[in-house]
């Protein structure tokens, strides 16, 4: 039984291993190395005695960026989970008609599959600061005020949170929906015979049954929100005046806008460390969910 099939397996794995080594493992090692140097656009490798990490601690903006990150991730995750659950329960438990429910599921996924470049302009256009902006037209119509508002300048964090939440709804809602579908129908029948109302069924049967899925999605989305900065970058680019600058975006800015590769790498490393801890948790949740 324990006959090795190395000869067969390795050819199958070679392309995978090559790509993973070149674009994950080597860059990871490079990032660690870079974070210990003052590497910039002149590409001189020079050990700088943990200066980058010291710089992070001393940077007056660090506190603000951490706070932004926490607020952004915290709000987005809470909203996402709640909306995911509501949508999943609605389209799976209450809407029994398969085609109606899959129609709405597809609809929810549209922001997710819209290319980020288009999606962000959609928001910018919606919130256009001039009197032609859609939201401004609504706003001026309702309040009778004559002055249009510059929404993005005024509520940048709220806007990026909303925009991000909308793109992440699809994944979680679909996930929860299939989890709810796998709850045996008999449990619902039994509950109904025992006199449970719809709310008791949702809170007493559906939620406990999918609790590991909820944990999983919460952690998974947290990982995504912490590290994926594209939506913010395209809508506000961290502005105005760093109000929406989150940790991952600041790493990108330092490295690619300011070409401080070493410093950017150090900022990335800090986040990678946090992410590693989350991944450990996620693995635990996954194994419990699949048990």
């Amino acid at each position: 039984m324990k006959k090795m099939q190395n000869g067969q397996a390795y050819p199958f794995l070679t392309p995978f291993m090559i790509l993973v080594s070149i674009f994950y493992i080597v860059p990871a090692i490079l990032t660690i190395a870079m974070s210990l140097t003052g590497l910039d656009s002149s590409f001189v490798w020079e050990w700088n005695n943990f200066n980058n990490y010291r710089k992070i601690l001393l940077d007056p903006n660090t506190g603000k960026i951490v706070l932004n990150t926490v607020v952004f991730v915290g709000c987005a995750i809470a909203l996402t989970i709640v909306l995911d659950l509501v949508i999943a329960v609605l389209v799976t438990y209450f809407i029994k008609n398969e085609s109606i429910s899959s129609f709405f599921k597809s609809l929810i996924m549209i922001p997710m599959i819209t290319p980020a470049v288009v999606y962000s302009v959609l928001w910018i256009w919606l919130l256009d600061a001039s009197e032609n902006g859609v939201v401004n037209q609504l706003y001026m119509g309702v309040t009778n005020s004559a002055i249009p508002l510059n929404w993005i300048a005024k509520y940048p964090m709220q806007i990026v949170v909303m925009a991000t939440v909308l793109t992440s709804l699809g994944f979680g809602a679909i996930n929860f929906s299939s989890a709810i579908k796998s709850i045996p129908e008999d449990q619902f029948k039994a509950a109904r015979i025992d006199g449970a109302g719809e709310w008791e069924i949702v809170s007493g049967i559906i939620l406990p049954n999918i609790r590991y899925h909820i944990q999983f999605i919460a952690l998974w989305e947290t990982l995504g929100l912490l590290t994926n900065y594209v939506t913010i970058m395209l809508i506000t680019d961290g502005g105005p005046s760093m109000q929406t600058e989150v940790w991952a975006l600041s790493a990108y800015h330092k490295a690619f806008t300011n070409q401080q590769y070493g410093y950017g790498a150090a900022i990335s490393m800090v986040l990678i460390f946090v992410v590693m801890v989350l991944m450990l948790l996620l693995n635990k949740v996954t194994s419990r969910r699949d048990a």
């Binding site: 291993m17 990982l223 594209v230």
Partner: protein, 282 residues
């Protein structure tokens, strides 16, 4: 499946739920719908027009600038998406099969690595990746971006397809071997058909993500010689100021998004069908 009969209260709840979710979705739908309105309706006359689509074949003169036609960007995007999807599916299929079915030295290590890589925030490694590409003299080239795009997605795809391979009963494979197949011909004639839903889902997601990829081009390509639609559109729309009017942009966005939407709608059906037929009678 027989159509389920709903009790009166269930039907009532269903109606309520449909109303609730419709109210939620309405703004999203309206938003996308206005894009069509912007693109096709002349703001002055209110008539149907294709004037906003001139970028498809010719240079458009605007107040601030000239807009070059979308052709080269379109070509690059199609090339990029097709190559990335094809390579990704093939590579992850091979790796997933080996990890699921063959036993070899280091199997456990690679499996654990896959678990980590699948979740790893690859965007945080872009600095290192850029350095690797420069060392390989691949930076600033489409080839480089293609390689990175494939690499960034194969752990996830491999993980998904491996799970599908894991779900194939041993008996089916044994049956092939007894019926006269080698491992390879069994893979080609039977196994591949059993993971069709998995293949469909990884190719769909791979294509969608490749088609809309922006960050890799923005980060790894510094000139405008290899535009893709994403960077082309981005260059025309800055957060501070739109270079083009929204009508033209909407037209461009429709050209960009339509393939994605069509593909999505088609594949949705395929996915559903695959799942229904794949599970039974195996």
């Amino acid at each position: 499946m027989a159509k389920k009969m709903l009790s009166r209260s269930e039907a009532k709840n269903q109606r309520r739920a449909v109303i609730a979710i419709t109210l939620f979705c309405l703004p999203i739908v309206a938003l996308y719908f206005t894009f069509f309105h912007l693109a096709f309706i002349d703001p002055d006359t209110g008539a149907l027009t294709l004037r906003n689509f001139q970028f498809l074949y010719t240079t458009m003169d605007k107040k601030l600038t000239q807009i070059s036609p979308i052709g080269p960007a379109m070509k690059n995007t199609v090339l990029f998406s097709v190559v990335v999807t094809a390579c990704e599916v093939v590579i992850s299929c091979m790796a997933g099969y080996a990890l699921s079915r063959l036993r070899f030295t280091g199997r456990k290590v690679i499996q654990n690595m896959l678990l980590v890589l699948r979740m790893f925030p690859n965007l945080l490694l872009l600095i290192g990746v850029l350095y690797v590409l420069m060392t390989l003299k691949l930076s600033n080239s489409l080839t480089g971006v293609i390689l990175v795009a494939i690499a960034f997605r194969i752990p996830g795809s491999t993980f998904i397809i491996k799970n599908h391979f894991d779900g194939i009963p041993r008996d089916i494979e044994n049956s092939c071997l007894v019926d006269g197949c080698t491992r390879f011909s069994a893979f080609r004639q039977v196994i591949i058909y059993l993971v069709k839903p998995g293949l469909a889902s990884i190719s769909i997601f791979s294509f969608l993500s490749a088609w809309s990829n922006y960050i890799l081009f923005n980060t790894l390509i510094f000139n405008s010689k290899t535009p893709v639609i994403a960077t082309y559109l981005k260059s025309l729309s800055r957060p501070e100021q739109m270079i083009v009017d929204y009508n033209t942009f909407a037209a461009m966005a429709i050209v960009y998004v339509l393939p994605v939407l069509v593909f999505f709608v088609i594949s949705q059906k395929a996915l559903m069908k695959g799942n229904i037929n794949g599970g039974k009678g195996v």
